[in-house]
C-alpha cells in the first residue's frame, strides 16, 4: 500500500490529496478480491485435474478446452442451485456462517508480500495478525455446524474447533522460531532476513535444520488449520458425511469452499514467506523487471505448495480424530518447543557449519525419539503364517 502510494503520489500532484490515498487503498483490495479468488477457482480445477491424473484418469475436460471453463460452470451451477435451510436450523446463524468463513481467509492475504515492498499492508505485527485472524475462521465452522441442527454437522464442528485450536499451538511456536531468527514480526522483514548470496536462495530458512523442522511443522499445522487431507476430519466425508457443511447447498456451500481454499492458499503464502524466502529468487535485482520476477517467484512457490497439498491429498489416508490430537500435542508440540531452543543455540553459535551439524543432530535425534515413543505399541510390523 505504501509503495503504491509513493509511486502514484507524484502523478497526482495537482489532484486532491485523498485521491492517491484512495487509489492506494483500492488497488490492494481489488488485487486480493480479484486475483486470489481466481487462483482459488483454478486451484479447484488444477486439483481435480491433478487428482485425476494421479488416479489414472483425465480430470474435467468437457467445459472448454482442457476444462478451462470448469470453475465458471461450477460457480454457475452452485449459484442456480436451490438454497436449502433445514427446518429446525437457526436460520440467522446458518446464513451468517458461510459469510464469516470467507472474511478471515481474505484478511490473511493482507500481510503476504508478493514482491519487494509490495505487500497490501506492511504491518509490523504481521505474523501475529495472521494467527489472530486465521483462528477466527473456526468460529464460522462452529456456527455452521451448530446452526444446522444436524448431528453430523455438530460432530464436524466439534472436531473443527478441537483441531484448529490444537494445531494453532505448534504452528505459532514454529513461527516463533522464525520470528526469533528474523528479529521481526513484519512479513517484509522476515523475507528480507532470508536474503543471502547472489541468487537469493541460500538464505531461505528452510535450508537450516531448525528452519526445515519449522517448515514441516508449519506446513502440517497449515494443512490442519485449513482442514486439508490428511487432516480434513471436520468434513471427513466417509465418516460424518460433510461435517459442518452437510446442510449447506448452493452458494453458501461455495462460500465455505471459497473460505477453506483461500485459507489454504493464504497459509501456503505465509509458509512461503516465512520459510521459502517469499519472493526471493534469482533475478529479482534486475532493474525495472525485478519486481515482476519477484512476483513470479512468489507465485511459483505458492503454486508448488498448493501442488504439494494436492499431491498429499491424492496419496494419504486421513488420520483419526484422537490420533490427530495426539499427534499435535505429543509430537508437534515438543518438536516446536525444542525448535525454539535450537534457534537460540543457532543464534549464539558463531561457526555456522558447526551450528548446522549440531542443530541437525539435536533435531534428528529428537524426531527419532519422539517417533519411536509414539509408534511404540501402536504400529507394528507383522508377519503372517499359513495354514498347513
Amino acid at each position: 500500500m505504501e509503495t503504491i502510494y509513493q509511486l502514484i503520489a507524484g502523478w497526482f500532484a495537482g489532484k486532491p490529496e485523498w485521491l492517491p490515498l484512495a487509489i492506494a487503498i483500492a488497488v490492494p483490495i481489488l488485487f486480493i478480491v480479484g486475483v486470489y479468488p481466481a487462483i482459488f477457482a483454478y486451484t479447484t480445477l488444477v486439483e481435480r485435474k491433478a487428482l485425476g491424473r494421479v488416479q489414472n484418469r483425465y480430470g474435467p475436460n468437457r467445459v472448454g478446452r482442457w476444462g478451462i471453463l470448469q470453475p465458471l460452470a461450477d460457480g454457475l451451477k452452485l449459484l442456480t442451485k436451490e438454497d436449502i435451510v433445514p427446518r429446525d436450523a437457526d436460520k440467522f446463524t446458518h446464513f451468517l456462517a458461510p459469510v464469516i468463513a470467507v472474511i478471515p481467509s481474505v484478511l490473511l492475504f493482507a500481510i503476504v508480500p508478493i514482491a519487494p515492498g509490495l505487500v497490501p499492508v506492511n504491518l509490523n505485527i504481521g505474523i501475529l495478525f495472521a494467527f489472530a485472524i486465521s483462528t477466527a475462521s473456526v468460529l464460522a465452522l462452529f456456527m455452521g455446524g451448530w446452526a444446522s441442527r444436524n448431528k453430523f454437522s455438530l460432530l464436524g464442528a466439534m472436531r473443527a474447533v478441537a483441531q484448529v485450536v490444537s494445531y494453532e499451538v505448534p504452528m505459532v511456536l514454529a513461527a516463533v522460531a522464525v520470528v526469533m531468527a528474523a528479529g521481526s514480526l513484519s512479513t517484509l522483514d522476515i523475507v528480507k532476513a532470508q536474503t543471502r548470496g547472489g541468487l537469493e536462495i541460500a538464505g531461505w530458512f528452510v535450508f537450516q535444520p531448525w528452519g526445515f523442522v519449522g517448515f514441516v511443522l508449519f506446513a502440517i499445522g497449515a494443512m490442519a488449520e485449513s482442514a486439508r487431507t490428511p487432516f480434513d476430519i471436520p468434513e471427513a466425508e466417509s465418516e460424518i458425511i460433510a461435517g459442518y457443511h452437510t446442510e449447506y447447498s448452493g452458494f453458501k456451500f461455495a462460500l465455505f469452499q471459497l473460505g477453506e481454499y483461500l485459507a489454504a492458499i493464504a497459509m501456503a503464502g505465509i509458509t512461503v514467506t516465512m520459510f521459502l524466502g517469499g519472493y526471493l529468487g534469482p533475478g529479482i535485482h534486475i532493474p525495472y523487471i525485478g519486481g515482476f520476477i519477484a512476483a513470479f517467484w512468489f507465485f511459483l512457490k505458492l503454486g508448488c505448495m498448493i501442488l504439494l497439498n494436492i499431491w498429499i491429498r491424492g496419496t494419504w489416508p486421513r488420520v483419526r480424530v484422537d490420533q490427530l490430537m495426539g499427534f499435535a500435542w505429543k509430537v508437534l508440540l515438543p518438536m516446536s518447543i525444542l525448535n525454539i531452543a535450537v534457534v537460540g543455540l543457532w543464534h549464539f553459535m558463531g561457526n555456522k557449519v558447526l551450528a548446522w551439524g549440531v542443530t541437525a543432530a539435536i533435531l534428528g535425534l529428537a524426531f527419532v525419539i519422539l517417533a519411536k515413543i509414539s509408534a511404540a505399541g501402536n504400529i507394528e510390523k507383522r508377519t503372517y503364517r499359513y495354514a498347513n
Binding site: 491424473r53 489414472n56 499431491w311 496419496t315 517417533a371 504400529i379
Partner: protein, 349 residues
C-alpha cells in the same frame, strides 16, 4: 521398519509415478485408462450382449420367430410379451402379431436366446437405449426388434456363421426327408401365407382343402392328390405300425408308388402343418388313433417347449408317461383344452 514416515513417502512416489505416467501413456491405456465415451467407444467383444432382437432372413416378413412363447415363459423377469398372429378366422399364423420386450425390465440374461429352438432371438450389441420417456419409450415393439440376419452376421460373425450352418444343415435334412416345402423357406419357419390360388380341380375326396388354408399352390396340388389317392391321411413311415394298423376299421389302402404320396413328408402327418387351424387338424385325424389325435391338437411347431417334439409329446401322453397336458406353449389354452377333451374321450382322464 525404516524411519517413521517412510511408508508415507513410498506412497507419494507411487502416486507421482502414476501422475507422470498418465502423460506418457500414448494410447496404451496402461496408465490412462479412460475411454472418452461419446467420442471413442471401447471395442465390444463378440460375446457382448445388451438387449435381444429378432432375426429375419431376407425380408422382415420372413422372420424366424414362430411365436412359440418359449422365451416368454422362460424369461426370468417376464419382460417378453407375445401374441401369436391369427387371420380373421382365428387360425394361427406361426408368427407373432405382437412381440414386445420391455427393456426397462429386461436384465440382459440371454436366457431367451438359449432356449429358443428356432435361432430367432439373439442378443444385440447396441447398448445406447436411453429414452426420455419412462413408459412407452422403453418398450421395444416388433418392428424395432426385427433385424436382418446380415446385421446379426455383422455384430457376431462367429456365432452367426455357426447358426447359419446349423440352420442350413437342418433345412437340408428336411429337404432330404422329402418335404415338399420349397427349400427356399429353409430356416425352420414356414413360408409366409401366400395367396392360395383356388385349385383347378377340387378333389372328390372326403376332405376338401379350405380355400384359405395357407398352402402354396404346389403344396395344395400335392395335398389334393394325396388325399384323393390315400383317402385317409395315413402313411407308413414314422408312425408306429400299430397305429397304422388301427387307423380305421378298413384295411389301410397301400399307397401306390406312382402317386405323389411317395414324396409325402417323412412324418406323413398331413396335420403336422402349423398353418392349419385346430378344427381342420382335428378333421384330418377324425379316424386316427389317439396319439395322432393328440398330436393334431398340438401347435405343430416342433418347438420343444414341452420337452419333446409334437410327435413325442403326443406319444408320451398317450403312453401315460407324461401327465401334464398344459406343456404346449404355442398352442396356448386351446391345445390344453383339446388335449383334456381328447383324453376324457379316450377315458384316460
Amino acid at each position: 521398519m525404516g524411519f517413521l514416515g517412510k511408508g508415507l513417502f513410498q506412497g507419494m512416489a507411487v502416486t507421482a509415478r502414476n501422475f507422470v505416467g498418465t502423460y506418457f501413456d500414448r494410447g496404451t491405456r496402461e496408465k490412462l485408462v479412460t475411454y472418452q465415451y461419446p467420442e471413442e467407444k471401447p471395442p465390444l467383444p463378440e460375446n457382448s450382449r445388451s438387449f435381444p432382437f429378432l432375426v429375419y432372413d431376407g425380408t422382415p416378413d420372413a422372420m424366424r420367430c414362430v411365436a412359440c412363447k418359449i422365451c416368454e415363459t422362460e424369461c426370468p423377469p417376464q419382460c417378453i410379451y407375445i401374441v401369436m398372429d391369427r387371420d380373421e378366422k382365428g387360425k394361427p399364423q406361426q408368427r407373432p402379431k405382437v412381440f414386445d420386450i420391455d427393456i426397462s425390465v429386461c436384465m440382459q440374461c440371454q436366457i431367451c436366446v438359449e432356449v429358443c429352438p428356432f435361432e430367432a432371438i439373439k442378443m444385440d450389441n447396441d447398448y445406447e437405449k436411453s429414452q426420455y420417456g419412462r413408459f412407452d419409450d422403453l418398450i421395444e415393439h416388433l418392428p424395432d426388434l426385427l433385424k436382418s440376419n446380415e446385421y446379426y452376421n455383422e455384430i457376431k460373425p462367429t456365432e452367426a456363421k455357426a447358426v447359419d450352418a446349423k440352420l442350413k444343415a437342418e433345412a437340408e435334412k428336411k429337404a432330404k426327408k422329402g418335404t415338399s416345402k420349397p427349400a427356399a423357406a429353409a430356416p425352420a419357419k414356414p413360408a409366409a401365407p401366400a395367396p392360395a390360388p383356388k385349385p383347378a380341380t377340387a378333389p372328390a375326396g372326403k376332405i376338401t382343402i379350405p380355400e384359405d388354408a395357407p398352402f402354396t399352390a404346389e403344396q395344395r396340388a400335392w395335398l389334393a392328390g394325396f388325399l384323393s389317392a390315400g383317402g385317409v391321411a395315413t402313411s407308413g413311415t414314422g408312425v408306429s405300425p400299430v397305429a397304422v394298423a388301427e387307423t380305421t376299421g378298413e384295411t389301410p389302402v397301400p399307397l401306390p408308388e406312382a402317386t405323389p404320396a411317395a414324396e409325402a413328408p417323412a412324418g406323413g402327418w398331413p396335420w403336422h402343418d402349423p398353418g392349419l387351424g385346430m378344427s381342420q387338424r382335428m378333421d384330418l385325424v377324425k379316424a386316427a388313433p389317439l396319439a395322432d389325435k393328440l398330436m393334431a391338437a398340438m401347435a405343430q411347431t416342433d418347438c420343444h417347449a414341452c420337452g419333446y417334439d409334437c410327435r413325442g409329446y403326443a406319444d408320451a401322453i398317450a403312453a401315460g408317461s407324461e401327465t401334464d397336458l398344459s406343456l404346449c406353449l404355442p398352442g396356448e389354452a386351446e391345445t390344453a383344452k383339446k388335449l383334456e377333451e381328447l383324453m376324457k374321450e379316450a377315458g384316460k382322464l
